[in-house]
């Protein structure tokens, strides 16, 4: 019997009506997704192919079942993705029967909207904000669902579930709308939009436990596999055409898995032999380092790296 479903199975016990914490989080997220779909005209679900967006897509399916998604799915494609993730993205979106929009950072570069960083440490991470905001404007999206969680990062810990963005796509942490009970204020003016984070109250462990309980499929890179990697700043990165090695860096093979999914250029791997969901959950439960601290170079720039990027319109 599934742990998650045990409250539903204990129907003989009419006095308690207990609900597990994962079911409570699921219900909250579905409530948020339905509320936003009902109140804001054009929504879009931002899907990176990472575990959080996989959970988000799963919850969106649940929210409107047996109907289909009342919004499209959009991937901001840096062009530096893991091929396994792109394959997974296309398969999942087809399975759900949703419309896929790909907003391309390469297009933004070609059109001169952004200038690509150069050198061995170049990353397209920050460029995504421009591509994202341009795509939201082009399609007239008023609400963009994202899989960000408050436990990921300190600036995110302060952000609302429904987070207002002004005409410039900016987040102003000091002027956030109060968010009371489960009553969300979806009123905005032309040009403005909201970012919506239904997984705000989930932790990394919650996400993994939920994936395990629900049997949600993930890209293969989340599980241990042998890969050519190199070491930089204490982290392991996948060797790929998108990264130039520094003179003292060399490639070697290692059994690794990824804890987060971002660009190949800025997403670190962890040494692991966890090849199944159960084994990954056990590893996550025992880990002493946060997922962003362990695997994301983009957050290492400064104490306020995420806050600064979010103000610019980042996810």
């Amino acid at each position: 019997m599934s742990v998650l479903d045990s409250p539903r199975d204990s129907r003989g016990d009419h006095m308690t009506y207990e609900i597990s914490h994962l079911r409570a989080l699921e219900s909250e997220a579905i409530h948020v997704i339905r509320e936003v779909a009902a109140e804001l005209e054009r929504g879009v679900l931002l899907f990176s192919g990472g575990k959080d967006s996989a959970v988000l897509l799963h919850l969106a399916r649940k929210a409107f079942h047996p109907g289909g998604l009342p919004f499209a799915v959009m991937h901001v494609d840096t062009g530096h993705n893991f091929p396994e993730v792109i394959e997974y993205r296309d398969r999942m979106v087809a399975e759900v029967g949703a419309q896929l929009i790909v907003a391309s950072v390469q297009d933004s570069i070609d059109q001169g909207r952004v200038v690509e960083e150069k050198g061995p440490r170049a990353s397209r991470n920050r460029l995504q904000s421009v591509t994202l905001l341009d795509a939201l404007e082009e399609h007239g999206f008023k609400a963009a669902f994202g899989g960000a969680r408050r436990d990921e990062e300190r600036a995110r810990a302060k952000e609302r579930i429904m987070s207002f963005r002004d005409d410039f796509g900016q987040w102003d942490p000091k002027a956030q709308r109060p968010e009371l009970w489960n009553l969300y204020n979806g009123f905005i003016k032309p040009g403005e939009h909201v970012r919506v984070f239904p997984l705000s109250n989930w932790t990394e462990l919650d996400v993994w436990q939920y994936i395990n309980e629900e049997g949600i499929e993930l890209p293969s890179i989340y599980f241990a596999h042998d890969r050519d990697v190199f070491r930089r700043d204490g982290m392991l990165y996948a060797t790929s055409e998108f990264v130039e090695l520094l003179p003292d860096e060399e490639t070697f093979s290692e059994s690794v898995r990824f804890r987060t999914v971002g660009d190949m250029s800025c997403t670190g791997a962890v040494t692991s032999r966890a090849a199944t969901l159960d084994e990954v959950v056990a590893e996550i439960a025992a880990t002493r380092i946060t997922e962003r601290g362990e695997t994301r170079a983009d957050d290492r720039i400064s104490e306020a790296a995420m806050e600064d990027r979010k103000k610019e319109g980042y996810f």
Binding site: S2, V3, L4, D5, R11, T16, Y17, I19, S20, H21, L22, A24, E26, S27, I30, H31, R34, E35, A37, A38, R61, K62, A63, H65, P66, G67, R150, D151, E153, R154, A157, K158, P173, K174, R177, P178, E179, L180, W181, N182, L183, N185, I188, S200, N201, T203, D206, Q209, N212, D278, V281, A282, A285, A286, R288, I289, T290, G293, E303, D308
Partner: protein, 429 residues
């Protein structure tokens, strides 16, 4: 998968059974951040890189000690100014429960943040500095907890180490605070003498205070009974979304999606839809996984009715013999959350459950002084952080219950029509 089976029986990886939300309130110096840091640290919820980052930042600021407040103060302005600006959400779990902390700043000007954090809380945790006793601020926090009807209050008398763990200090504060609480409508209050800095009575019972016979704070948080705080008596289902797949497979399907606000719905139940008053029966309670026999708060489900009647978003499904009040006028306590004051005769949008209408302020009955509970009947408006009783007239009926009976159908927000800001938090009387 059985609980813990995947992890060789390590209990931490088994999903905790219950979600508990609590709000903390305290002033700058009474050790709230230290207490939260202690709870997170002792439950192994702080990660090594987070600690390293706090250590680095403490050093840069010249704090001279590990400033655990830096764990929770996430914004640049907060770290620069050494203050907490906004509600921060923190998470930790024990084998029994998962906790969400809404950490709210204690300054007077941030009452709106505490109201925000308190609105979803099962429990409020108020800190009192043992050396300073019950301050105006402590009383205000307790008032807000009672106003928002948080079912459980825990008063931690902190810094007991600085008063030699003296029982008489604790007893005096307990007696004084109890006098104030008697004026409020709070039924479950627990006083715990602690030292957040040294960990006394936080996770484990303290050996320094053998005279204290109660439990540690964490034990209390793990065992306080919150499941029974939900309203399971009055079935209320605000319709969020009409599911109409129009696919070949589900061609004629119409379902009403929403979150059960209160009460229990069962397949076969006779229901009435408001405002139309049409009745039907529940044919099935549908979810992605299949049908349920019954649904209860806070499950998100889809109700499928036997009859094809007109139902849309904002409608309320309930039982014919147990209906909410169909209100065109409401009396409510409102906490004002905007720099733009509430003015009498002003018009606002009001959002209640999944229904939005317009509201006009007919009368400001009184403003309540949150420090003395004095009612100022001469007041004719509300400023930021003020609380008052209003009479509102509505453009179309809302289906309300008294907030004291039903938090989900007794609460509403007011939205400024010109700025679209959320300006008021309301509780139906």
């Amino acid at each position: 998968m059985a609980a813990g089976a995947a992890t060789n029986g390590r209990p931490i990886a088994a999903p905790p059974s219950e979600l508990v939300r609590f709000a903390t309130a305290g002033s700058v110096d009474d050790g709230k951040s230290t207490l939260i840091g202690r709870l997170l640290f002792d439950t192994k919820s702080i990660f090594e890189d987070q600690l390293a980052s706090v250590e680095r930042a403490s050093g840069q600021r010249g704090d001279g000690y590990m400033n655990l407040a830096l764990l929770t103060d996430g914004l640049r302005a907060e770290r620069e100014q050494g203050i907490t600006i906004d509600v921060a959400y923190r998470y930790f779990h024990t084998p029994r429960r998962k906790f969400i902390i809404a950490d709210t700043p204690g300054h007077e000007q941030y009452t709106r943040n505490m109201v925000t954090g308190a609105s979803t809380a099962d429990l409020a945790l108020v800190l009192v500095d043992a050396r300073k006793g019950v301050l105006e601020q402590s009383r205000r926090h307790a008032f807000i907890a009672s106003l928002l009807r948080i079912p459980h209050l825990v008063v931690c008398v902190n810094k007991m180490d600085l008063v030699e763990y003296d029982q008489s200090v604790f007893d005096r504060i307990t007696a004084e605070f109890s006098g104030w609480l008697a004026k409020l409508d709070i039924h479950d209050v627990t006083f715990i003498p602690i030292s957040a800095l040294h960990g006394d009575n936080v996770v484990d019972r303290s050996e320094e205070m053998p005279w204290y016979e109660g439990t540690s704070l964490l034990y209390h948080l793990e065992h306080v009974h919150v499941a029974s705080d939900r309203n399971l008596r009055d079935p209320r289902f605000p319709v969020q979304w009409v599911v109409r797949p129009m696919s070949d497979e589900h061609h004629d399907y119409r379902g009403y999606a929403g979150e059960v606000a209160s009460g229990v719905f069962r397949t076969g139940d006779e229901v009435v839809v408001l405002p139309s008053g049409r009745t039907s029966r529940i044919a099935s309670i549908d979810t992605f996984e299949g049908e349920l026999d019954e649904a209860y708060p806070p499950l998100s489900v889809t109700l499928h009715l036997e009859d094809d009647i007109d139902v849309s978003r904002g409608d309320m499904i309930c039982r014919p013999e147990n209906r909410p009040t169909e209100a065109r006028e409401i009396d409510a306590m409102v906490c004002w959350m905007s720099e733009r004051p509430l003015s009498p005769s002003a018009r606002y949008r009001i959002k209640h459950t999944t229904r939005t209408a317009l509201a006009k302020v007919d009368e400001v009955r009184y403003r309540i002084d949150v420090n003395s509970l004095h009612r100022d009947k001469e007041a004719n408006g509300l400023e930021l952080n003020e609380v008052g009783r209003l009479r509102l007239r509505l453009s179309s009926p809302l289906f309300v219950d008294e907030y004291r009976r039903n938090r989900a159908t007794g609460s509403f927000i007011l939205i400024d029509e010109s700025t679209n800001d959320t300006v008021g938090a309301g509780m139906v009387l």
